[in-house]
C-alpha cells in the first residue's frame, strides 16, 4: 500500500494572504514544513496539493526545489483536489496535513500512520479530541474512504474541508482518535498559522530554538514555550 502525505496550501488564504511565503531566517515558512515532513519515515510520497491559480505558481516552485511532488486542482473544491492528487500519484493511504501546521512533529505523524495501519479503522485523527498542541494536526485515511465520502451528498462546506463528511459520521466510518502522552498533552498550546500574531509567535519559536532550527520536536517546542514563557 502506497502511503502519501498530501499537503493542502494556497496563497489566497482569507485571513492572512500569502502566509506560506512569510520568511523566518530568510526561508519561507512553508519550507520548514517541507523539511520537517521529509523526516517522516513511514511514507512513500509527499505531495503539495495547491490550486490552478497563477498565484500559486510560487508554491509549486518552492515545493519542486525541495523535491516535493506537486498537484494542482480546484481552488474551492479542496476535497476533489486532494482526491485527484491521490489518484494521480496512486496513493492508497492519505496522510492529510495542512500548511497551517508548519511546526508539525514528524515523529507524531509517524505514530499516527503506524497506529492507523495496525488498527481496524477508516479514519484516524489526532486533533478532534484536543490533546496534542494545536498545530500537530494529522489525519490518516484510505483513498477509498475519501472516494466513498466524495460520493455522498455534499455541500460547499464539505467540499472545502476535505474530511468533514468523514469526521461528522462516526457511524458510517470507523474512527480512531489518537491522544497524546502526558509530556505532549498540551491542548492549550497552539502553534497554527492563521493570523499575523500566529506568525510572529512561530517565528519567535524557530529563532529561539538553538538546536537544529529546521527540525526540533514537539517536546522541545513545549519546553521552550513553558520555560521561557514566550
Amino acid at each position: 500500500m502506497k502511503k502519501g502525505i498530501i499537503i493542502e496550501a494556497r496563497m489566497n488564504s482569507k485571513r492572512l494572504p500569502g502566509k506560506h511565503l512569510y520568511k523566518v531566517l530568510n526561508r519561507p515558512i512553508i519550507e520548514y514544513l517541507f523539511l520537517r515532513l521529509k523526516k517522516v519515515k513511514n511514507v512513500d510520497e509527499i505531495i503539495l496539493a495547491t490550486t490552478n491559480s497563477h498565484k500559486d505558481d510560487v508554491l509549486e516552485k518552492i515545493a519542486l526545489k525541495n523535491k516535493i511532488k506537486v498537484f494542482r486542482g480546484s481552488e474551492k473544491n479542496v476535497m476533489q483536489r486532494v482526491l485527484h492528487a491521490s489518484r494521480k500519484y496512486k496513493i492508497d493511504v492519505i496522510i492529510s496535513i495542512t500548511a497551517d501546521c508548519p511546526l508539525i512533529d514528524p515523529d507524531i505523524v509517524d505514530s499516527c500512520i503506524l497506529t492507523f495501519l495496525n488498527n481496524n479503522c477508516d479514519y484516524l485523527n489526532n486533533s478532534l479530541i484536543p490533546s496534542y498542541p494545536g498545530g500537530m494536526n494529522c489525519q490518516v485515511y484510505y483513498k477509498k474512504t475519501l472516494e466513498k465520502s466524495f460520493q455522498s451528498r455534499l455541500n460547499s462546506n464539505h467540499k472545502e474541508h476535505v474530511t468533514l463528511e468523514i469526521a461528522n459520521n462516526n457511524k458510517k466510518y470507523k474512527h480512531l482518535y489518537l491522544c497524546a502522552p502526558t509530556d505532549l498533552h498540551r491542548p492549550n498550546i497552539r502553534v497554527e498559522l492563521d493570523t499575523i500574531e500566529d506568525f510572529k509567535f512561530i517565528k519567535k519559536i524557530i529563532i529561539q530554538i538553538k538546536k537544529n532550527r529546521y527540525y526540533f520536536n514537539c517536546s522541545d517546542l513545549i519546553n521552550l514555550i513553558e520555560k521561557k514563557k514566550i
Partner: protein, 246 residues
C-alpha cells in the same frame, strides 16, 4: 471515568524467583514501579494483585507496611485474580501493569488511558504490535470486557487463564480494540527494559543508578532509551530468549 491500576506480581517467578523484591539502592523493584505509576495523572488508585500462597506472605507484609493496597487470589488463574481484585476495589476500568515492568513510563500509561476514554474502547494496548520496548507495556480495559473474555475461556485452557488479556486479544471481534504504536523516537522493539532474568536486573540497576545519582528520581522512556543506546547497555540482556504472550 475512573481508572484503577492493577499490578500483577508474585514471588515465585520461574525464571527469576523473588525478582519483585530485589533491591536497587535499597528500594525493592515493586516499590520503584509503584512510585513511577504515582506520576500518572489519570490513575485513581493502584492495587497489587498477588497470590494466596504462603510464598507471598512476606511480600504482603511489605505491601501492608508501605500502605500499598493489595488483593490475594489464585496463582495460576491470573485473569480470575485480576477480576476479583477489580471487583473488590469497585473498579470499572482497569490499567493492567505486570510486576516485571519497573521502568514503566506514566506519560505513556496516560496516553493509553486518554485514547481508551475518547474512543469508547473496550481494550487499548501498546504492546500487541511491538514498537515500544518490552517493559513499557500498558493495557487498559473495561472490567466488563475482561469478564466477558473470561467466560469465553474453555475450562481446560490454562494458558488463557494465566495470561490475563490473551482471551481479549483472541476474541477481538467482540471487543473494540485499539493498538497504539510509537513513532521512531520510541520505536525500539529490540531494547528490553522488562525484568525477566538476572541480566535484565543488571541493566535496570545501571539505569536507576545513573538517573538517581543525578538526583533524577523520575525519568522518561525517551531519556531511558537514549541512555541505553548511548552506553550500549542493550548488550547486557540482548541474548536472552524471551517468552511471548505478555
Amino acid at each position: 471515568m475512573k481508572f484503577h491500576c492493577i499490578i500483577t506480581a508474585r514471588m515465585t517467578s520461574s525464571r527469576l524467583p523473588g525478582k519483585i523484591m530485589m533491591k536497587i539502592k535499597n528500594i525493592p523493584v515493586i516499590q520503584i514501579l509503584y512510585e513511577r505509576l504515582k506520576k500518572s495523572k489519570l490513575i485513581c488508585k493502584t492495587i497489587v494483585a498477588t497470590t494466596n500462597n504462603q510464598t507471598d506472605d512476606n511480600f504482603v507484609e511489605f505491601l501492608k507496611k508501605k500502605k500499598i493496597s493489595f488483593y490475594r487470589g489464585s496463582e495460576f488463574n491470573v485473569i480470575k485474580r485480576v477480576i476479583e481484585a477489580a471487583k473488590k476495589f469497585k473498579a470499572k476500568n482497569v490499567v493492567l501493569i505486570t510486576g516485571d515492568c519497573p521502568l514503566i513510563d506514566p506519560d505513556i500509561v496516560d496516553q493509553c488511558i486518554r485514547t481508551f476514554k475518547f474512543n469508547k474502547a473496550d481494550f487499548v494496548n501498546n504492546s500487541n504490535i511491538r514498537t515500544f520496548s518490552d517493559g513499557l507495556d500498558v493495557q487498559v480495559f473495561k472490567l466488563s470486557a475482561l469478564i466477558k473474555s473470561y467466560k469465553l475461556i474453555k475450562i481446560d485452557n490454562n494458558k488463557e487463564k494465566e495470561h490475563v488479556t490473551l482471551s481479549l486479544r483472541k476474541n477481538k471481534k467482540y471487543f473494540k480494540t485499539i493498538n497504539i504504536l510509537s513513532g521512531p523516537r520510541l520505536n525500539y522493539p529490540d531494547i528490553f527494559v522488562t525484568l525477566d532474568e538476572i541480566e535484565d536486573f543488571k541493566l535496570i540497576k545501571k539505569v536507576i543508578y545513573y538517573f538517581w545519582n543525578k538526583k533524577r528520581k523520575y525519568f522518561s522512556a525517551h531519556e531511558l532509551i537514549n541512555f541505553i543506546r548511548k552506553k550500549h547497555l542493550f548488550k547486557i540482556n540482548q541474548n536472552i530468549a524471551r517468552k511471548g504472550n505478555n
